[in-house]
Symmetry: C2
Subunit: 761 residues, 2 copies
């Protein structure tokens, strides 16, 4: 569709850097080989909750081959945290989950590191452990953070403890509307903790340079966030810390530690490097990775909806209890988002939802792909089917009935502009054969929708350097994790500069040189870096036209650029090569370098004025449930997405498939299981079941056009929204097949069979 207007955009060019990835040639963090580097390791708490009485590192320090042993006493007395400042780099006085870092060692080999860690003697005084997010709110629960006050915005009547943050969502008069509703449906849903399970382990390597600066390599999604953490925790200025991003073998939000105060191995690594006076590299092993890093939290969601007989939703009330784990981490943001989304994305005039984010003695909440969204959508969209069933209305019709229209307000979006929700539902219904497909025995059909945040959050910049030969070197602050940097970004530069995509090189993030960026999170690569890159490329083009104008004896406004030639529009014979103009820049401004930034304040103002056009999606599937084993087999799966203008169709499809697969995993099998002491029972892939290829359906993706978003050319983010609908779509199909509504994840054979048996009784 885009081909008429654009030359590169809308096509599915080969991903830059793809060959290296599939041939194993790419340099990942673990491939780093710093001269004279030693290994680092972290001693983690073996108690989920305990006082630290004493730490004796003398034996560990005495071990031959040990370069440094550090505890909280060796670091500046500085805490960190994204919303609540509640955490030390290394635990001080208390540990709060089984995995809390207590001490760290740098030694000549991994073997010596392990020996030294064993020789650190920590005396603990165990404290009562609380793992359940509702139990932790009770007066009887142990207090996790003595020094953290309750949130100032807590409802006055809330008699709670261990609450880390609170979100209240209010609209209209839900009490009155609920009383006037024809039908009220009330349910409770629950999702469990899952781990993002990227295959590449988390690494960090740090070196103190001769001038005292600290260089840090990390497979981090938020290199600037890591820089902030390291600078703050080591008490050095930001320009004395340099973070270089390595290739990333999967992150899914789990490696965004700089913005989550999550795993935070980087500051520990930097401290070790300073103390050891040697470069230090830390590589987490699988078990340590699983128990200690940031995760997708479990949520308990109370949801109640009032509807009119005709299917019009009139009120929604509810409560979210969102498990932040031992520290606030990303909990406040993810919990708030879950709370908002429990209000749904349909026209719902009256809403009241309380969202409590709570501390428990478990590992810490991170911004895993679509943080808070899939949990909320599991409740909302399962609940939609429950209401439709109670009303006796077809689930598709019921959804279409409540689709908002332009100018409407939904929870979290004050004013909507273009709404693709209805179209995605209609297409998904058509693609899955809703009401037409003949279902076999034990088969069921289900649908669920979703939406996602758009265009809020920090701005960011881009720099497009046009080299003397007309090739371009591009700097953005987003890392390459399979998103825009190697797909959309080079395409945008190629499009605006009239050069081949292969003449565009997007370099890896180096916090010294790259534009500041909040992190490669929140589906924001194309919104932030794409917008900035487009403006930077246009800036560069304008400079080129200005330089070329005198050579071509034409006005800059009359010029165009194509195939690396600058031409006078309508006079194709009058042209000059881009390389000539770029080289001539030397004797004027030095070089052609374009700058651009995504102004998030401006973007917000525009949306306030004209309304917001968030992405919507509808997924539908057909499943077969084995009544003897409870096994659920997905027979067909369709995903319909509006991502606004599609810059690279295959990349978007890849994002949709990946995101859907992640939530299909959470729907069918994944969860982190704890024993009563707070110990993770399944830290390896042997025990933590991920969906295998046998469980995965082919995901048939359809992209909907015509609903431009806030990104460049009308693009919207596409990385996370695919995670939102799958769990409810599958649960709805199971319910359709069996007549049993399962409200707690995962929909594993064990749980499904248990539900089927319970229903029979």
């Amino acid at each position: 569709m885009a081909k008429a207007e654009h030359s590169v955009l809308g096509t599915s060019i080969a991903r830059q850097g793809g060959v290296e990835r599939v041939t194993g040639a790419g340099i990942y963090g673990i491939d780093l080989d710093l001269p004279n580097a030693v290994r680092g390791g972290i001693l983690r708490s073996q108690h989920a909750h305990a006082k630290i009485v004493s730490i004796d590192t003398s034996q560990a320090k005495a071990l031959p081959g040990v370069y440094a042993v550090v505890t909280a006493a060796d670091a500046p007395d500085v805490k960190y945290g994204r919303t609540t400042i509640d955490r030390y780099m290394l635990a001080k006085n208390k540990v709060r989950y089984m995995g809390d870092p207590v001490a760290a060692v740098a030694a000549e080999s991994q073997a010596v590191v392990k020996q030294a860690l064993k020789k650190i003697k920590v005396v603990y005084e165990p404290l009562p452990v609380v793992l359940d997010p509702e139990e932790t709110m009770k007066a009887s629960a142990p207090t996790l953070h003595e020094e953290v006050p309750l949130p100032a915005n807590l409802p006055k009547d809330a008699n709670v403890k261990n609450v880390c943050s609170y979100t209240g969502v209010h609209a209209g008069d839900p009490e009155k509307a609920m009383a006037e509703a024809d039908v009220v449906v009330e349910e409770v849903y629950e999702t469990k903790m899952i781990h993002p399970q990227y295959l590449e382990p988390r690494i960090a390597a740090a070196r103190q340079e001769p001038d005292g600066r600290i260089t840090l390599w990390a497979n981090a999604q938020a290199p600037f966030g890591v820089r902030t953490d390291v600078a703050r925790l080591l008490k050095v200025p930001l320009n004395k810390v340099r973070v270089l991003s390595t290739e990333l073998g999967g992150g899914f939000g789990g490696k965004a530690s700089g913005i989550t105060s999550g795993a935070a191995i980087e500051p520990i690594c930097a401290l070790l490097a300073v103390k050891a006076r040697r470069p230090v590299m830390i590589v987490l092993d699988k078990a340590e990775e699983t128990i200690s890093t940031t995760i997708r939290s479990g949520a308990k969601m109370y949801i109640k909806t009032g509807v009119k007989k005709d299917g019009t939703i009139v009120a929604r009330t509810g409560k979210v209890v969102y498990d932040a784990g031992a520290y606030s981490g990303f909990g406040a943001m993810a919990g708030a988002r879950c709370t908002q989304m429990l209000g749904g994305w349909y026209l719902t005039p009256n809403v009241h939802i309380d969202g409590y984010v709570v501390y428990t003695n478990k590992q810490v909440c991170g911004p895993v792909r679509g943080p808070g969204g899939p949990q909320a959508a599991f409740a909302v969209e399962s609940h939609m089917d429950s209401i439709a069933a109670k009303l006796g209305i077809d689930p598709v019709e019921f959804r279409l009935k409540n689709v908002p229209k332009s100018g409407d307000r939904i929870v979290g979006v004050p004013k909507l502009r273009d709404i693709s929700l209805g179209e995605t539902v209609r297409i998904a219904a058509e693609k899955i054969g809703w009401g037409k497909t003949k279902l076999g025995k034990n088969q069921g059909i289900g649908i669920a929708t979703g939406s996602w945040i758009e265009s809020s959050g920090p701005g960011g910049g881009a720099m497009v350097k046009v080299n003397e030969d007309g090739s371009a070197t591009v700097h953005i602050g987003k890392i390459d994790m399979g998103t825009a940097p190697r797909f959309g970004i080079p395409m945008i530069v190629a499009e605006e500069l009239g050069i081949p995509v292969n003449d565009v090189m997007v370099v890896n993030v180096d916090t010294d040189a790259s534009p500041w960026d909040a992190g490669t999170v929140g589906s924001r690569s194309i919104i932030v870096s794409g917008t900035a890159t487009r403006l930077a490329a246009i800036d560069a083009r304008n400079q080129i036209f200005k330089l070329a104008a005198s050579q071509l004896e034409a006005s800059p406004d009359d010029l165009e650029i194509k195939d690396k030639q600058i031409r006078v529009k309508g006079t194709p014979a009058k042209s000059v090569p881009l390389a000539t103009v770029a080289t001539a820049a030397h004797n004027v401004i030095g070089e052609v370098v374009g700058h651009g930034y995504c102004d998030s304040k401006l973007m917000a103002a525009e949306e306030k004025a004209h309304g917001n056009s968030p992405p919507f999606t509808a997924h539908a599937c057909i499943v077969e449930v084995d009544p003897d084993t409870g096994n659920v087999k997905i027979l067909k799966y369709v995903a319909v997405h509006d991502v606004g203008f599609v810059i690279h169709p295959v990349a978007v499809e890849g994002q949709v498939e990946g995101a859907a697969a992640m939530s299909i995993g959470q729907a069918l099998c994944e969860q982190v299981v704890f024993d009563t002491n707070g110990r993770t029972m399944n830290p390896s892939f042997v025990d933590y079941l991920m969906p295998t290829i046998n469980m995965m359906p082919r995901i048939e993706t359809t992209l909907v056009h015509g609903y431009p978003g806030a990104g460049p050319y009308g693009a919207k983010g596409a990385g996370e929204i695919g995670c939102v609908p799958p769990m409810a779509a599958i649960a709805n199909a199971i319910c359709n097949a069996t007549g049993v509504r399962i409200r707690t994840l995962p929909l594993s054979p064990e749980n499904v069979l248990r539900a089927l048996r319970a229903a029979k009784r």
Copy 2:
């Protein structure tokens, strides 16, 4: 003097990076330790001129531990050169000096590299060798470059060969003026080739990355020039080559290979890395360094001046024969500058000088500190004393008589603005005690002046990133070779942003990220990067004021910034920390990053309109000549310099002292000596005499104020001009002591004694 107006500028803060340098902690090229790297070495011609009949690399390739052996046949068929494209990366068909690279090897160790180099069998057919720059112009001389045509601008009657470039300097009617002069003095001067003799050897290391890009580390003064050479010679786009600058242990122009097509080990290193599929590092040893890299050329200068009885100069004619060596290298530029400067920097209305830059079978001319200038000044300023003697006028008076005034034209400068020449002469005369100091036996006093080019040449950029804590990270394209990057640049940022100098970090050049730059040459660091940095810092400050204005409820125009606080002028209580504003930028434009560039076209236009204010200098000294040995001892040495606004006094003094020391060395002892076959006789420090501390006088530097230049705040470049006057100042003092005018360098004991004896005969 600057302290009232400025807070940082004009003070002598500690040099950034100085401690690491003096403690040996700095990471120089030789300290690089790339994983899996192998060593590289170059086979150099043992003939000064020969045909290459054949090269057999089979035995070398068969040697265990050898990873690659390359010759011209392994590289793309591409030549290079700065003005004349006359050179291959590895010699093809012919070699033209003893040191010309013929083949190269990558092997597991330096020992295996050496063995392999010996096993490369090259069959040569020797050709006649020409070493003398005047001989090479004769019809009887062998032709060095069959494929290079004579310069198009050669005078029609010039019956010459092996001329690489020609410069003609013309003004007025010198023939007529010379005929009307009262006195005409005609002399011939000659200087010999010297090597820049930086202590750190030249290194290059190259690695091909998994995506095919080539990363190159080099102690190069012109990283972007190296990038251009590597990309062109390996036929890859510029954005597929990345050059990282290492610390530099002295360069003096000798390491500016990217802009000179001089030593050019970098493309060879890159080719080896590609072929060996391993990182390759080349380190030149002292002898190879001396015989193969670029040098300061010898020049033969014919000079003739007509003067009136009162001392007014009326005409200057002359001829320069400038030795480019085997390839054009930097010869055209250095030779042209020498030719121009032979016209002097006094008021001289009628001028005709022919400058021939010629090929000989010697190593290649590079841009050594003040290229062409010291040679010309030796002739011009010795000649001035010869004229004064003939007229019977005091040399100081004679010079002052011919000082130009505002609006005047001198050779190379169409219109002068502020002229410090007279003041520097007067101060130098006063400081040395001219006409007052009582000279002892065999003692003499001498003075010489100088000038240098200013503000011509390419532009360049700067980027000032203001981090969230108010610290700044700065990118410029100039490397740190003891010039502006670690002195003036951080001071300018500190001054304009109101932050401490230690909060400013100037990062090393990375061609991916740094602004393009022509190279750290031509006394242009403060002019180009200083101007760009000042504008970038002001741009950043403007952004900060714009962001702060709403917080402070004030107009951006009413704000000031000091001590990391933004304040409302006149209302000091209304303030906000810089860190707060810089952090708040996240939610608007991402970050505060200022951009600036030095627009050389604009600068040239301004100078055309208002005139140019070049730097001037006068050096004076007292020497004692031992009549029995010819040894010259400098008893007192004063250097008076106008460098415009002085940003860092001690740094400028350091530049003056270093530059003067270099030319004192050339005056008293240094030269590269060749045998008749073109073999360098003194490739080591054992045979190549550098001035020792015993030979060096204390250099008493005085800086003259009040003559603003084209740089930031009125600064002028200060790195090279100190090289210009010393040789003539010393020769004039010797003449004053002995009555003997020596017109050929060096003024070594041997040469002085020979001249004294010849004068006696």
